[in-house]
């Protein structure tokens, strides 16, 4: 199975995202989605009249109806946090096949704002996280008293520590490096530097994960616009070409994960890198979904940045932070920037902005290849997108 012409055939040409140091946004729902789409289209130099493809994790029909768009490409895949990487993958294939021209994907989630407004999904009480459809989780997991989703990631961390000797300090370093990046993002929820001791002294949530090993719960929203490489050339901003895509899920419930120390990123990553024709050492920026410190550590191994089991030693010298050899999550990540629930949109937005050189104080020096690697469910669905500047097209 080879590349059927997806590499370099499409590009992300418009992006937008929003979050606040307060953790809360003023508006929510469709109004916020429409605002993000408007910003992303404006960033792309396009209008809503150009859109013939719509992606949404809830209902692409509902969104399109609200927008007044009658799309010929429609996409409602929901794989949790990696949904937006999957949207890129599907849109890239559709655009390459001539089945769509301008595709927009949007996300808005405002758990804090909803609570403040006294409605929405953020009401009081504990809602166990449930998978869609028939629900074996209620029968086979929830009665154990597991705290979801953090208990699932905690179990992965325990297993990784037992198998490979990974330490709490090594996991904590990932939170520390990520926070260093967040000090340079004025929209980040937390912008003060932290130390390994701070992470280890923060309250234990679900062992071995401390509070500062866990992502935030904040309002946030974003959107991206994709079109063909050919049309992208005529647009005002430098395109971020889609060089490679790959997806795999190997379970829905954590108790069904084949190996809790290895994710399906071992499939999605090489697929995307292979299509792009790159090696891990070619990557200038890794946007690796960091719902928890262990999540990011697993990506480093499973995408091949280091050997299996060596993610701890690999991270502990701070190479993931500013000035390091593998910049990771330069927006401050889900750990320090924002995490409204399905964070994958923000991986893509930051990757595009870095490739364009729009990231201000935290801007990397002339990056050409950025990887957005989404993780959805409970380490369930991995989806990898390789993006590159024009220089990478040949």
């Amino acid at each position: 199975m080879g590349d059927v012409g997806v590499r370099g055939a499409s590009a992300i040409v418009g992006v937008a995202d929003d979050a606040s140091p307060t953790g809360q946004l003023e508006i929510g729902g469709r109004a916020l989605e429409a605002a993000m789409i408007e910003q992303a289209l404006s960033d792309a130099g396009l209008t809503i009249a150009d859109v013939d493809g719509v992606c949404h994790t809830g209902s692409s029909m509902g969104l399109a109806e609200y927008l007044g768009v009658h799309p010929r490409f429609t996409e409602s895949t929901n794989t949790g946090g990696s949904s937006f990487e999957v949207h890129v993958e599907h849109a890239a294939a559709a655009i390459a096949a001539g089945m769509a021209d301008v595709v927009v994907s949007v996300y808005a989630s405002t758990p804090r704002g909803d609570r403040a407004r006294g409605g929405g999904m953020g009401g009081p009480g504990r809602r166990p996280m449930m998978m869609g459809g028939p629900n074996p989780q209620a029968e086979w997991e929830i009665p154990s008293g597991i705290r979801m989703p953090m208990g699932a990631y905690a179990m992965a961390a325990t297993r990784h520590m037992a198998e490979y000797g990974t330490t709490p300090e090594q996991l904590a370093q990932i939170a520390v490096s990520t926070r260093q990046w967040a000090t340079m993002n004025p929209k980040a929820r937390y912008q003060d530097p932290i130390t390994i001791d701070d992470v280890l002294a923060s309250p234990m949530q679900s062992s071995p994960l401390h509070l500062l090993d866990c992502c935030l719960v904040t309002d946030g929203a974003g959107a991206f616009v994709m079109t063909s490489a050919e049309r992208a050339k005529s647009l005002p901003k430098p395109p971020a070409y889609v060089l490679g895509v790959g997806t795999c899920h190997d379970h829905a419930m954590i108790s069904q994960m084949p190996d809790l120390a290895t994710t399906a990123g071992t499939i999605s990553g090489p697929a995307a890198f292979g299509m792009a024709g790159i090696k891990p050492s070619d990557v200038d920026l890794l946007m690796g979904y960091d719902s928890f410190t262990i999540t990011a550590l697993l990506h480093l191994e499973d995408l091949g940045f280091c050997k299996k089991g060596e993610g701890g030693p690999f991270s502990e010298d701070g190479k993931l932070g500013p000035g390091g050899s593998l910049p990771m999550n330069t927006n401050g990540g889900g750990l320090s920037y924002t995490h409204p629930g399905m964070y994958g949109m923000f991986l893509l937005v930051e990757a595009v902005k870095q490739l364009r050189g729009e990231c201000g104080e935290r801007q990397l020096s002339d990056p050409n290849i950025a990887v957005a690697h989404g993780s959805g469910g409970v380490l369930s669905c991995m989806s990898t997108v390789v993006l590159g500047t024009e220089a990478t097209l040949s």
Binding site: E139, P143, S144, G145, I146, M155, E163, S206
Partner: protein, 141 residues
């Protein structure tokens, strides 16, 4: 040192395919499905085998022995009954090969170790069923 307790729990619902499992728990018997074609345990209960897509499944009694595959300890209790814990939530690999999410009880928190030998014990549910949990092989410390 604190020892892991039994959490208060949401009563597990029962589905038609899993009814034999829950019925057997009334007699404190642990059953797992067995695929006769793959000669492997299937868990959670299904109408088809996820290994071969076949339906040649039967229920077998499990030994109740297992090992601790991984675990987490809840330090902030979300227990609906307000019990304090600590609670060990675990994935236990049965000797028969199935892996289930459950609790490990009667172990000092610092003694929980991946790979430790466990045996099934039972937590009574209000409707006469029992919920399978695990303790160290040979009984609680």
């Amino acid at each position: 040192m604190t020892t892991t307790e039994r959490p208060g729990r949401f009563d597990p619902p029962s589905s038609p395919v899993s009814e034999p499992f829950w019925e057997a728990t009334k007699q404190r018997r642990l059953l797992v499905q067995w695929c006769l074609d793959c000669d492997k345990a299937v868990f959670y209960p299904r109408e088809i085998c996820p290994g071969c897509f076949g339906a040649n499944l039967e229920w077998r009694e499990a030994s109740g022995k297992g090992t601790l595959y991984t675990f987490t300890v809840n330090h902030l209790s979300p227990s609906p009954t307000g019990t304090d814990g600590p609670f060990a939530i675990a994935l236990v690999e049965l000797a028969e090969g199935a892996r289930m999410m459950t609790n490990v009880v009667g172990v000092p928190v610092d003694d929980l170790t991946v790979g430790m030998a466990l045996q099934v014990t039972w937590d009574e549910l209000p409707d006469g069923r029992h919920y399978p949990i695990f303790e160290p092989a040979g009984g609680s410390a």
